[in-house]
């Protein structure tokens, strides 16, 4: 048995001998470590959820909307700046624009037999489906010919379908939009709620039908552009901006009357937001760890005072200052390492419990486990150091005199 094994055994005996005191001391570390792990797992879960949703919309997507980008709150003053001709020009002139999907639309009253609902009616072209990552759950989509002929056909979003048909057959049925009869061609697969927005609450009709037959407008609500690859996002965005500036007869210094939203930028922003959130949670947890560390220091100081005589005996038979220093450091570390391990277990359990008990997703990140454990061990060394130094500097004569 070497000195280190002996130090470890002495520390272990001392911890085991004062079970209640040791576990109360460890409680601070246990709570700290499990809080870090749980909090970070909640933050990480939220981040994944958001990024999955955004990726579901397609990360190579550019969305061009009318309005002044710097004055979003007065955007209504210029809703009519984008036209179908703009969309065609982008399709023709921008080589990196893989698919261009213009959309026009408004909310409208829709009826099927006695069922009626208020939903968004969107006029789109066939590429809309692919650009926005929608899939058909049944039926078919309208074609370019339908768009050309302004045919009265419709494809239902999952929510609109549920409102009108509950779960009955929709394909082939006739619905009334603003008093006009439309034949249902297909139904889309649900994407699910995205924050406050429900992307499934809509009905798609051919663009020309919406513009001419339903709403009598010739401007667009948005143009969705899917870019050939993610790396071309910035350059394509700049090209489209230049093209539209030219088409709208705006000189380069002027403020554009449209704005382009980059899905990749949105993803980055959302990630930054959730990282900030995660860091904030971790910081709160680290503070609780600090409190735990002070608890350890407190107990170690008591322990040193209580064991003054033992220290005297050890010194009398030849223990050097550093032997005593290590003994108390090992004890402090043992407390924090055991606390850390229990805390990791508790953190995993708490993170599971949160996922099971709430609608939040949680994901324990290995980095947070390593981080929390390292902080716990460092807390042991840091807060154990002062009491250990105090012990190592005790005068043997004084120490032996202690009762």
């Amino acid at each position: 048995m070497n000195l280190f094994a002996q130090l470890f055994r002495v520390a272990f005996n001392s911890v085991a001998h004062h079970k209640l005191r040791s576990s109360l001391t460890m409680l601070g570390i246990i709570i700290g470590v499990s809080a870090v792990i749980t909090m970070v797992s909640i933050g990480e879960g939220a981040r994944r959820q958001v990024s999955e949703r955004i990726q579901g919309m397609g990360t190579n997507l550019l969305v061009i909307r009318p309005g002044f980008s710097r004055r979003r709150h007065v955007r209504s003053a210029s809703v009519n700046t984008l036209t179908a001709a703009d969309a065609l020009a982008i399709e023709r002139e921008i080589s990196d624009a893989a698919l261009v999907a213009p959309e026009a639309g408004k909310s409208a009253q829709v009826k099927y037999l006695s069922q009626n609902t208020n939903t968004t009616v969107l006029g789109v072209t066939p590429p809309y489906l692919e650009v926005n990552n929608f899939e058909l759950s049944e039926g078919s989509f309208f074609t370019d010919a339908d768009v050309k002929s302004r045919s009265k056909t419709a494809v239902l979003g999952a929510t609109a379908y549920k409102e009108l048909f509950d779960s009955g057959t929709a394909v082939g049925e006739t619905i009334r939009i603003k008093g006009v009869n439309f034949k249902v061609l297909g139904v889309l697969t649900a994407k699910g709620q995205q924050g406050f927005r429900d992307p499934d609450d809509m009905i798609l009709v051919p663009l020309s039908t919406a513009q001419k037959r339903l709403f009598g407008v010739d401007y667009l609500r948005a143009i969705n552009v899917s870019v050939v690859s993610e790396s071309k996002m910035e350059s394509t965005q700049a090209e489209i901006e230049a093209l539209l500036m030219r088409r709208h007869r705006l000189s380069p210094g002027q403020e554009p009357d449209f704005n382009i939203r980059n899905q990749k930028e949105l993803l980055t922003t959302m990630n930054e937001v959730s990282d900030t959130f995660t860091n904030l949670l971790a910081a709160v947890a680290v503070v609780s760890m600090l409190v735990g560390g002070i608890g350890i220091m407190n107990i170690m100081l008591v322990s040193v005072t209580e064991r003054t005589r033992e220290i005297g005996i050890r010194k009398a038979v030849g223990a050097r200052g550093r032997d005593v220093l290590f003994q108390f450091l090992v004890e402090a570390m043992l407390l924090s390492v055991i606390g850390g391990l229990v805390g990791i277990g508790a953190g995993f359990a708490a993170s599971r419990a949160v996922a099971a008990g709430t609608t939040w997703q949680t994901a324990v990140s290995p980095a947070s486990v390593v981080f929390a454990f390292a902080i716990a061990a460092l807390t042991g060394v840091f807060f154990g150091l002062f009491p250990a130094m105090k012990a190592s500097r005790l005068d043997p004569v004084e120490a032996l005199r202690q009762e």
Binding site: G312, I313, A316
Partner: protein, 254 residues
Amino acid sequence: MIHLESITKTYCMGEHKVHALRGLDIHIAAGEMVAVMGPSGSGKSTLMNILGCLDRPSSGKYLLDGEDVAALSADGLASIRNRKLGFVFQSFNLLQLDSALDNVALPLLYAGVSDPHKKAKEALRRVGLEDRAHHKPSELSGGQRQRVAIARALVTNPPVILADEPTGNLDSKTGEEILKIFTKLHREGTTVLMVTHEHEVAEHCRRLLMIRDGVLEKDERFEPRAADDGQIDIQVESAGTVCAPDKEKAEVMS
């Protein structure tokens, strides 16, 4: 072995200066068995602390086994205590949570010896306690505890053993047995220094130092008690009879 030259020790108690030792010159040769006596407050505890390298003198020269220890650092003194000295205290000073064996092995751990338990067992055998190796101090009688303490003092084979009233907390019969162990160590060549209050204890030694008011008052040598010589030899030779297990049990019972 021990060479003290005009050793003084002054404590500062606030404004006052207390002169515990006022210039001691003591020479003790290797293999001597010396008793130190003196009334309380005479400075004999201070002297023992300095001799035991637990404390440093305020001035003077202290050579222990040829080494000048007066000027050593705290860690240097720790090393000297470990290699050259064995302590036996009045109140035993054993670690309560450790077994007898671990208590005896303690100095070896700090010395970095490879197989401390083997040597610790050997030391316990020398004081006749090998069958109590795994008992905690609380499970041992006073005499047995003191024998564990003696085993701890001699486990590193130090040239000097210092004992501070080793029989002070023991009844006279048990005290006798402890003294016999010291006598045996002395016969094996170890230098033994013993602080005591009792003349009967001092009579086991061959030399008596009387300390009073921080100075050496008397330094006398005498022949050991006639009763000691022949008889002790026989008993110590057969240590087993002195510390026989049966006798131990009886002791624990009482």
